[in-house]
Amino acid sequence: MNLYSMRRRPESWPSTAVLVALFLASIPSSTALAQRDASDIPVVTKAVALEGVRIVQSPGRVIENGTVLIRNGLIEAVGENVDVPYDAERIAPDSMTVYAGFIDGLSSTGVPQPKEEEDLPPVPDRGNPPDDRAGIQPQRDVRSLLSADQKSIENLRKLGFGAAHVVPIGRMLPGSGAVVLLAGDEPRDMVLKGDASLFVQFQGARRMYPGTPMAMTAKFRQLFTEAKRRQQMVQLFESGTSGVPRPEFDEVHYAFFPVIDREKPVFFYVDDVLEIHRALKLQSILGFDLSLAGLHEGFDAVDALASSGAPLFVTLDLPKKPKWMSKLKRDSLETILAAYDDETRTATFRDVEAERRNLEARQVMSRDEFASVAAKLEAAGVSFGFTTRGAKTKDIRKNIREMIDRGLSEDAALAALTTHAAANLGLSESLGSVDVGKIANLIVADGPLFDANTKYQYVFVDGKKFFYEKSERERQTDDDSLAGTWTFTAFTPDGEQSGEVVFEKDGESYTGTITYPDLDVTMELTDVSLDEDHLSFSWEDPNSGTMTVEGSISGDEFEGIVIIGEEEMLVIGVKEDSPE
């Protein structure tokens, strides 16, 4: 293999190493080097060893202390006792866990946004517009539309994603998708599997046919059925019989041939539940391999989704919270839910508040349903992946945590991001776990994968190393386990009592306040003391006198007692926010 043709160069390589590389590379062939610019200089070694790490090979399969060896973009060895060869770059991070890189089931990562259609002239017959104007472009291939320097690639990679099934941007039939690795200097470096899907969405043409969902389903039936006829004509013609009319070529219908042959799945992006049913119905009438991505309202179609057998990719996007909801913490939402009365029969003008409270509760329930699609599919025994399409980068980890809070197991979440996604894309052989022979897409995390404070310090994509330094804020949070906002809940004979406590660092010591949300009163804390993980503090309660809390902190959680006079009661605390 020609070393120079590989064009592999980790972007974060330290400059001294580049110099070493330059020197070493010049030894075998100085003439070759002279003909190339600096970007062609190969790295000194394409082997990396991650030593002394905890390895989660796949959900439930863990090596507590081992080594992962990467070479030429592949995982060469994994285990407790791996001989690290002389040429490997050795990385021995402290207290880190290695996970398989995440896989995005559907997005347009790396595809530049096309120009607006605004300025195009009106079509002469909007009932029968040219295919490209109507968004009927199944012949397009995302590989020819990719751009390796898109910011979206880096955004997703930073979140731990190493591979993505990407599709063109368009309307009803934007083209064919490909699975790409999220690193590379040029699109051709990135493509793992071309022609991976025929992408379809219920996105109507603007001011022309097909505009509505009913016309799009009709158009899909028309194209598929006529493509079937044309394919049979082509086969008849190509069988070599004379006297068969020459089949008419057109790229739109021809793009359906591999779908008809079931060599290529149809990827439908469906967000509301009616779209889910439409896609499933088209599949059952026409017969093709169907994958579904999106599924925002999948909570109402779990049975239909499970029985369809279609590979599924659940959205990592969650609906925007209304203003009132975004201000409240979970325990307040639980209180609203507990007060819901589904039997109210009150005239609105008599009790607007009762109706409002019920509506708030229904909005919380609705929100929870959107966040529970993944949990419900897990409960139904369905192996699903995730799609980042439509999800804001900054929300993705937060949304996964919310799904976990709504009942998704962490193992299923990891599987959805790795093994199940790989299986649903037909790429289990090369992606999805930390195993020998797989593509070296890895995450090196400094804590539990889904914890809010966990930092993904390295992400490897195709064996290329990306190092993410901690921000100033992240370092501060690490150093300080106490400062921030906590919710403390005491279990008293009168029921649970909560208080919001804010700790601030003041030199070497701490100050703080406690707020009773129900009464809206705030008191200063006294004697705040943190010794290793032992925390104690006091305040003057207007009714009960001095209250003292004592106990221990473990990560973001506190457990201890509150002392009121002679009485002691259990109290637990949860850290909600760290200081900005």
């Binding site: 009932g127 016309a215 006829r229």
Partner: protein, 460 residues
């Protein structure tokens, strides 16, 4: 390589042939009601038994099988579930107005079981709606006959299994405004039709093309028996559907107002051998009632709704009665998520204007619309063997004081005035701002979750 002939079965399919999904049925015994059978007079102090969705007994002292709910309806009136022959409820889009002929689209694909209009219709005693494509196109989409199985979240659960296929046609001002830019001020290039003559031309072209399409396929069927290299014609979903109209497999429901355009369509249909036709609205139907009766055409009209545009100025509240007296199968429809909640009052107007009998008036919202939809063997009257679609009223349904109390579909109770909570919605937006939530709901009226074609056009 082996030679392949092209099996025609791969190409021709009908969506109506889809397997029916499991639809819930129930059992109930309603005792001691005044039973308005529609087809067999009024029966006092009578029991009606529904078992597994079908009416199995009408008589005195019927006993309920084990576990079947018994309802004491003393002093109350039981009538068959109301059938609304023209509605746009429970749809997520209504008009594909990009083309004057869109026979290939079907409302089956856009049935929306979450639409609150279904529950509101139940509260007005309506158990079946003919939920239709809009009137933008000369030949619009295929309609869907649904039963109001409120609470189901799968669109197919609402389908009236076995109901014949129907299609929407539209004459007059709507298609000429939308496509011919007549009065719309639209800057898009105009298409046919921009006149009533154009409407007829579009119809004749469509039927002629469908005839040629049928001939092409017939010729292919003959050819492929003797020629192994026979090539099938291009598949055309639009012409397939129009061909099915010519074959008599699809009932035409045509939006129409004026007598001249009604006669025009009768001429066109006669030329192409199409016999199954009901004229929707037909405000001037009274002028051509004998012609309609002679053709066997139905008319589905408003009781008294007119003057909302020029072509509906010449109208009368006697329309329904005149049509009935001339032997036209006539119904009164709502075309509205508001009117459908008091169709019994709309029917009662024909007694004030036209002096129809109780049975004649009630037929306008029961057995007659059922005939127009081809479902009269199943619904529209209280007879043993028919579906258990029933409504219980507090007073005679033609009384202005009457209130629908309970509504059953296939023996399952979907509305009960005694158990009618404030909020029956099947879904609530997780994102809407509460302070404006009510206004938003009102703003989108009966079409919440419905996106109009215009709205889709205007979106960026």
């Amino acid at each position: 390589m082996t030679r392949k002939s092209i099996p025609i079965s791969l190409l021709a399919f009908h969506i109506a042939a889809m397997p029916a999904v499991a639809q819930e049925t129930g059992s109930v015994l309603i005792q001691n009601a005044t039973v308005l059978t529609i087809t067999n007079g009024t029966l006092d102090h009578t029991d009606v038994l529904v078992e597994n969705g079908k009416i199995t007994g009408i008589g005195f002292n019927l006993s309920a099988p084990n576990g079947v709910e018994v309802i004491d309806a003393s002093g109350q009136y039981l009538m068959p579930g109301i059938v609304d022959a023209h509605s746009h409820i429970a749809l997520s889009s209504i008009n594909e107005s990009s083309s004057p002929v869109t026979a290939e689209v079907t409302m089956e694909d856009v049935v929306n079981p979450y639409h609150l209009g279904i529950y509101r219709a139940l509260a007005g005693g309506v158990t079946t709606s003919h939920t239709m494509h809009g009137s933008a196109n000369v030949i619009g989409g295929q309609n869907e006959t649904i039963k109001h199985r409120w609470g189901s979240k799968n669109p197919d659960d609402l389908r009236f299994a076995g109901a014949p296929r129907t299609i929407k046609f539209a004459l007059g001002e709507n298609p000429t405004r939308v496509h011919g830019n007549r009065g719309s001020g639209d800057s898009q290039p105009a298409l046919r039709p921009s006149s009533r003559m154009g409407v007829e031309a579009v119809l004749r072209d469509a039927f002629t093309n469908a005839q040629r399409y049928m001939e092409d396929w017939d010729a292919y069927e003959v050819d492929r028996r003797r020629n192994r290299n026979a090539v099938p014609p291009k598949y055309n979903g639009r012409l397939e559907v129009i061909a099915d109209i010519i074959r008599g497999d699809i009932i035409v429901h045509c939006h129409s107002y004026r007598a001249d355009e009604i006669l025009m369509l009768l001429d066109v249909l006669e030329d192409f051998g199409v016999t199954k036709i009901t004229f929707q609205h037909a405000n001037e139907g009274f002028k051509v009632a004998p012609e309609l009766a002679a053709y066997g055409a139905g008319a589905s009209v408003f009781a008294d709704w007119w003057t909302y545009k020029f072509e509906v100025y010449y109208s009368t509240a006697y329309n329904a009665a005149i049509l009935v007296k001339n032997g036209v199968v006539t119904s009164i429809n709502s075309d509205s998520g508001e009117l459908n909640r008091h169709l019994f009052h709309e029917a009662a107007k024909t007694q004030r204007y036209g002096g129809l009998t109780d049975d004649e008036a009630l037929s306008l919202i029961t057995i007659n619309p059922a005939m127009q939809l081809g479902i009269d063997e199943r619904v529209g009257s209280i007879e043993v063997g028919k579906d258990g679609d029933l409504v219980l009223f507090s007073e005679h349904p033609l009384s202005v004081y009457t209130i629908p109390l309970k509504t059953f579909v296939d023996g399952v109770k979907y509305f009960d005035r005694d158990e009618d909570p404030d909020d029956v919605r099947l879904s609530v937006s997780p994102s809407a701002d509460l302070d404006t939530y009510m206004e938003e709901e009102i703003d989108i009226h009966h079409n919440d979750r419905v996106r109009s074609f215009k709205e889709i056009f205007q979106e960026r």
